[in-house]
């Protein structure tokens, strides 16, 4: 008997021992959405030490130029709009960059798939303007450019917009830990600085 059959047999025996099963109705009377409050989204991002820039689309490059020091090396996913990147930085598009090159970069610029206002969360799904997961992980600074139309109020709305089969990374502020005396400290292994550029 395989372990699979053994295990499934045990579970069926365990359930049979408990008597007949009654189908369970899951009550879903919690909120499935809500009014979108962009100011709240910004406040929640700031509360978790993300830095927020609300600018128009044609000001993205200037905003990023102000965030990153001149001459900084920036890795970007291959599908990122080139107009977002200022001429003051050295851009390395991800055409199979090795991990060492990515880790050595000063920053990464990505787009996002969805954001959640209530929790101050941005979600990346590996689309061409967001790239492989490693891109937004190794550089110490992450600049994430987001459109207002991508922001939803609640977690249920975000899940409904996402494709489960894509690799998803939910990001709420910079890397942090509560492991020392349960006090929150920003900056462990992931990017220690998170900038969110919010477009109309």
């Amino acid at each position: 008997m395989s372990s699979r059959d053994l295990l499934l047999g045990r579970l069926r025996a365990a359930l049979a021992a408990g008597g007949p099963q009654v189908p369970v109705e899951v009550p879903r009377d919690y909120r499935h959405g809500g009014p979108l409050d962009l100011d709240r989204f910004v406040a929640r991002l700031i509360d978790y030490r993300a830095q927020v820039h609300r600018v128009s689309e044609d000001a993205v490059a200037d905003t990023i130029a102000a965030i990153l020091p001149a001459g900084a090396t920036v890795v970007v996913p291959p599908g990122l709009p080139s107009g977002w990147l200022p001429s003051t930085v050295t851009v390395r598009p991800d055409h199979d960059l090795d991990n060492g090159r990515i880790a050595a970069a000063d920053a990464v610029v990505t787009a996002a798939a969805v954001a959640v206002a209530e929790t101050g969360t941005v979600v990346l799904d590996g689309s061409p303007d967001q790239g492989r997961r490693v891109l937004s992980l190794l550089p110490d600074r992450h600049v994430c450019v987001l459109r207002t139309a991508q922001v939803v109020a609640t977690v249920p709305e975000a899940l409904a917009r996402l494709t489960p089969q894509r690799p998803l990374t939910w990001i709420s502020g910079p890397s942090a830990t509560s492991d020392i005396e349960l006090s929150r400290v920003e900056g462990v292994h992931g990017p220690r600085t998170l900038h969110v550029v919010l477009l109309p």
Partner: protein, 476 residues
């Protein structure tokens, strides 16, 4: 493999893993209570997390509806566990991964060890995972000549300090910043001797220490917070980014999960992703949540193995009341509100699952006889039930397990004698007079004599009243 009848629900085998302590709770707790530093550290940490979590929960207007939904989803999962696991296996396999089934800790350890050996790697990086602690995976890997590196900050503190975890969420909760600095200075290779005890400096030291290890290790081992049967999606919630490193950088990823972690649908995540962070770390959302489905070409590990573990869970499932202990999402809210845990800490419980949930889960996984003192590690105050985001009725389970635990013969004899006496009014009155005599004899505040002294080991015997109720009633 177990030696019980094939196909029958089976408890976790002894001799492997960390579900059984080496001594009963009362004697271990007595030692913890005598450590004032430990009590200060625990008091500070649990008070901090309680306040933070309460504030975050108060923000959510539909918290009770979410709890009820979470409870119902988990009840449904347990009722349909075999079919959901088969569905999960099918979806994960379609997505390019390999699914393994492990009847117990020994088999899971062997599967993981063989998988690591096959890669030729002599080192694995690990995401914090309760289930790999439960099965003693690190010991098995070391015995096979493979070095496991814990990458969660608290697990790293525990590993470098040659210590044991004492909390589900914050395994080093029993250490304060000064003690952590000392451990790093003593045991972390290449550490800056000028390291301060500022939490940010300690976190930065861990970042520097682990960076090269992340970039050069070919295999990672993780647990899972959720696995979606409908889509084959696995989810890990974390804070530091060590989880993302382990789930993204290596060539091979091995995920070990207890079979109870499966949820039916993608939509179900909307409930648990709201409940878990607020109940656990007291955040609106934890900094990072990773979700992946099988293998994504060109992104992340190109070999993914999922190990589904029983190790006593089938035995828990067999008890229609007890099975709610399998609903646990490992948030640790019940630990943080428990007056017993706050004073004794996690080591006193022996098992890797401490606190109220540990007191009902560990004895069921091992069989009550092997953790007989744990159901008594509670005052039955009920704070854990109120705090649980999936509404596990821990007090109900504690009482049921106390009933199932082996009782000392003296206690059974005393209870039988009391029942007989109460059934016979003359005897009862005589007994009451005898109690009053003991008061006249000056035996107040004393412990009971053997074999009944167990009752008074941690309680004072109340002073007998000057008059019984019957005497007072007769004299009105």
């Amino acid at each position: 493999m177990t030696h019980t009848f094939l196909g029958m629900p089976s408890t976790a085998p002894p001799g492997v893993g960390h579900l059984r302590g080496t001594e009963p709770f009362p004697s271990a707790a007595r030692r913890s209570l005598a450590d004032p530093q430990l009590r200060r550290n625990l008091g500070h940490a649990t008070a901090t997390i309680r306040a933070r979590s309460a504030g975050m929960i108060a923000e959510v207007p539909d918290w009770q509806q979410l709890r009820e939904a979470g409870r119902a989803i988990k009840t449904d999962v347990m009722a349909r566990l075999p079919e959901l696991l088969e569905q999960l296996e099918a979806r994960v396999t379609e997505a390019g991964a390999v699914v393994h089934w492990a009847a117990d800790a020994t088999e899971a350890n062997r599967i993981v060890t063989d998988l690591v050996r096959a890669t030729g790697s002599e080192r694995v990086i690990k995401v914090k995972s309760m289930v790999t602690q439960e099965i003693g995976l690190n010991e098995a890997l070391v015995a096979a000549g493979i070095a496991p590196v814990e990458t969660d900050l608290a697990e790293l503190i525990v590993q470098l300090g040659d210590d044991r975890p004492s909390h589900i969420l914050v395994p080093a909760i029993h250490r304060n910043r000064a003690e952590i600095r000392e451990i790093f200075l003593r045991a972390m290779p290449g550490v800056d001797p000028g390291l301060t005890d500022e939490p940010a400096a300690l976190a930065a030291a861990a970042r520097n220490y682990l960076r090269q290890t992340f970039l050069t290790t070919k295999v990672a081992v993780s647990g899972a917070n959720f696995a979606v049967a409908q889509t084959g999606t696995l989810a890990v919630v974390e804070s530091e980014g060590n989880g993302r490193m382990c789930l993204t950088l290596p060539e091979t990823l091995i995920t070990v999960m207890g079979i109870e972690k499966v949820v039916p649908t993608w939509q179900d995540l909307e409930v648990f992703l709201q409940l878990l962070p607020r109940a656990s770390t007291g955040e609106r959302m934890n900094p990072y949540t990773s979700m992946w489905t099988g293998v994504t070409p060109g992104d992340g590990p190109q070999a993914f193995h999922l190990v589904l573990l029983d190790n006593g869970r089938s035995a828990v499932l067999a008890d229609p009341t007890g099975r709610q202990a399998l609903h646990c999402i490992r948030c640790s809210a019940c630990l943080n509100v428990c007056p017993v845990y706050e004073r004794t800490g996690g080591h006193a419980y022996g098992s890797v699952y401490p606190g109220p949930i540990g007191a009902v889960l560990s004895p069921q996984l091992t069989g009550v006889a092997d953790n007989a003192s744990l159901p008594y590690a509670s005052s039955l105050c009920g704070a854990c039930y109120d705090a649980c985001p999936v509404k596990i009725n821990i007090p109900e389970l504690l009482v049921q397990l106390r009933d199932q635990a082996p009782h000392p013969r003296a206690e059974a004899a005393a209870m039988a004698a009391a029942a007989y006496t109460m059934d016979h009014p003359r005897l009862y009155e005589a007994a009451q007079r005898a109690v009053r005599l003991s008061r006249l004899a000056g035996r107040r505040g004393c412990a009971l004599p053997p074999p009944l002294d167990g009752w008074t080991a941690s309680r004072d015997l109340p002073d007998p009243p000057a008059q019984t109720f019957r005497q007072w009633w007769a004299g009105r």
